[in-house]
Symmetry: C2
Subunit: 414 residues, 2 copies
């Protein structure tokens, strides 16, 4: 990896060689950050060279990724998700320019595929055959899918509240799944103990610094899709803190390597039922645990495992913290579906719900340009989709009954 210099502890600054099993800081236990040689990147990659690449996946950005360039194993095609100009939604929200990055269009239907692709690559580099993680669901199914394609075994720990859609994915991908009757915190602890005991490759994004390097590819793609003309804001949901940390890392890497000359401000959106990271921002105080009380299961994280990087990202970007209710989340599901044809899961649309609120509360100006990231597909959690959207008209096959039903619904038909 000629592009990587080292791994540096976010907490104490201790610097070590970046090996595949470099996890947390050997000195203080803090999470590490991968440090790049930006001169090397600048010399080996240009915007023009990138534009000529045919690979639409995250690996088109290989100069920005901490992986040996010659790894060859069967991979899912991760990344390359569409960025939609959302004019009708922009109009409804009252903002000048809005793009929706639909990351539900990934092999296992969430942004987490970006991180899991890196985990599989590093486990492959390390010569290991088993990978494990704990997850609220999406990291789990993405690890299971990406590992299955590459022929790895997986052990995966999820809290029992994980929606059926996500668990069914895991099982189909052949993962060994442990559903933990407890909180995400309980689940994380048990997985850590098991990983320690059996020496599996550790895909926990708050432990393994490479995961965030995968997540950052969403920023690299947004930049390339906007021809490196960055928006004023990027809005996204925040749970464990790894995704917003990754988004910010991608932006900083692009900036340092001279690919962009403006850093967007981050809009960190959490649920009013669980917002330990946003509370720390709003109170300008250290984070404290909270209960996990929201339908947005992917971001129901009362004890975030990566608060350092998340808080850094929000503060460094001069970001904004917004909390939304479950009702606002369900409303954003309908709004994105109706105006964009994009179906996000509750946590997936939380960024858009927060953007709406930030505009209403005057936290960001109406003439701003914004990218809102949809982090997961609504098909992962159809129970909440039904809750958001209601049930259809249900009748026997009879025209008179159809007419009656349409009249009752107040449809304006001749």
């Amino acid at each position: 990896m000629k592009n990587v210099i080292s791994a540096v502890c976010v907490h104490c600054g201790h610097e070590v060689e970046a090996t595949p099993t470099t996890y947390t800081c050997p000195k203080c236990g803090g999470i590490m950050d991968i440090k790049y040689d930006y001169k090397y990147i600048r010399e080996h990659l240009t915007k023009e060279k990138l534009a000529d690449r045919k690979d639409p996946s995250i690996w088109r950005f290989k100069e920005f990724l901490p992986v040996a360039e010659d790894l060859n194993y069967p991979k899912l095609r991760v990344g390359g998700s569409p960025l939609y100009k959302a004019d009708r939604l922009a109009e409804e929200l009252g903002v000048k320019t809005l793009y929706i990055k639909d990351d539900g269009i990934n092999p296992t239907a969430s942004l987490k595929d970006r991180a899991s692709a890196l985990a599989v690559a590093k486990a492959y580099e390390a010569g290991m055959d088993t990978i494990a993680c704990s997850s609220t669901g999406n990291a789990a199914s993405s690890l299971a899918g990406n590992a299955a394609a590459a022929g790895f075994k997986t052990y995966i720990f999820v809290p029992s509240r994980a929606p059926k859609g996500k668990v069914s994915q895991l099982m189909i991908f052949g993962a060994n799944v442990v559903s933990v009757q407890g909180s995400y915190e309980d689940t994380f602890r048990l997985s850590a103990e098991a990983i320690e005991r059996w020496g599996w490759y550790n895909r926990n994004a708050a432990i393994n610094p490479y995961l965030m390097e995968g997540k950052k590819t969403v920023s690299l793609e947004i930049a390339e899709q906007l021809d490196f003309d960055m928006p004023d804001y990027i809005a996204l949901s925040v749970g464990d803190g790894c995704t917003i940390g990754g988004v910010w890392k991608g932006l900083k890497d692009l900036y340092e390597a001279g690919f962009i000359d403006k850093l967007p401000r981050l809009i960190s959106v959490q649920s009013t039922g669980c917002y330990p990271i946003n509370r720390a921002i709003q109170e300008n105080a250290p984070w404290r645990p909270m209960e996990e009380n929201t339908i947005a299961d992917s971001i129901a994280v009362g004890v975030p495992r990566n608060p350092d990087k998340a808080l850094n990202a929000i503060r460094e970007s001069n970001g904004i913290a917004v909390n939304v209710t479950d009702e606002e989340i369900l409303s954003a599901m309908r709004l994105l579906g109706r105006t964009c044809g994009v179906f996000g899961e509750p946590a997936g649309v939380t960024g858009t719900a927060g953007l709406k609120k930030a505009l209403e509360e005057g936290l960001i100006p109406r003439d701003a340009s914004v990218v809102s990231i949809v982090t997961g597909n609504g098909l992962k959690d159809t129970a909440n989709a039904i809750k958001a959207a209601g049930e259809p008209i249900s009748i026997p096959a009879d025209m008179n009954l159809l007419l009656k039903a349409f009249q009752e619904k107040g449809f304006d038909l001749k």
Copy 2:
């Protein structure tokens, strides 16, 4: 549309101008086929020109599509789905070369997005504002999503057996949904009556010949992804008959325009619980209605609406008809998940189930090259995924209980 000559009736050969609202034959009621000027296509598109295009969606093949070239409206990014070389699956099935085309990676998670994209384009050309269809589910959600992105209203009729995942998509996309308490045949009839009465744009693929032109893009993509070196066989599931008809149309168009010099044989796979098209092939007789008795809801079509094109496709390609049981379908779900990291819905994996059977029964040789199309995402029907894959280990967060559970499962851990 300089590339289109006319619409020709598949049944009686009657030829008419191809307008956006050209549906069935005005003379005999048969379904029409879009006829191209292959000389025009050859003159305006080459393999090299195609390779240089950056648009990964179906619109990269515009010379092969019956749409005015300057249509500009907000679109979902349809198509461009990955084609995976599936070596581990090939080994398990005992076939030399196997590719999996994962069409579950489409904006609304099925191949039907290809058809619905065309429906929206033609409705836009026609200046209409409302589109309607009946569907077992996937055509419905794809129409709802693609229409929502473009700002069209939709009326959508589904049989009440459609899985929750598909119905939830419809509702989120803001479609007006009628769940019909009856068979697909009942649903189709009621939709036809309503479309006639209110003059909506008709997206029923067995009525509107443009839909199949969208579906054919899956063949165009497979060809380009294989560098126009076509496989011996293409395996896919068959319900209404429109998809296999579309796949064959794409292959023939490529052949006529000089892009490929070999036509693969089609493997038509239906369920043993509902196989009217395959029965017609196997008995070399006209098709007759059957009951709809399979978990693969998307292909549970007892009265196929497009038998002519489907039967033509299978016969012209010297194809093979294979029927599989529900258990074989569930087994294929596990197999694709475990070996490829691809999660298909029951009808989505039915092509692969049929391929397995065709190999076991010696219907195709072991040294063949095959593409198997996965037509829809498993997240659409998680109830059946759970049925296929079983439930996870469920325990409180306790290492001793974990050890006990692993022992009971017989996991080989130190």
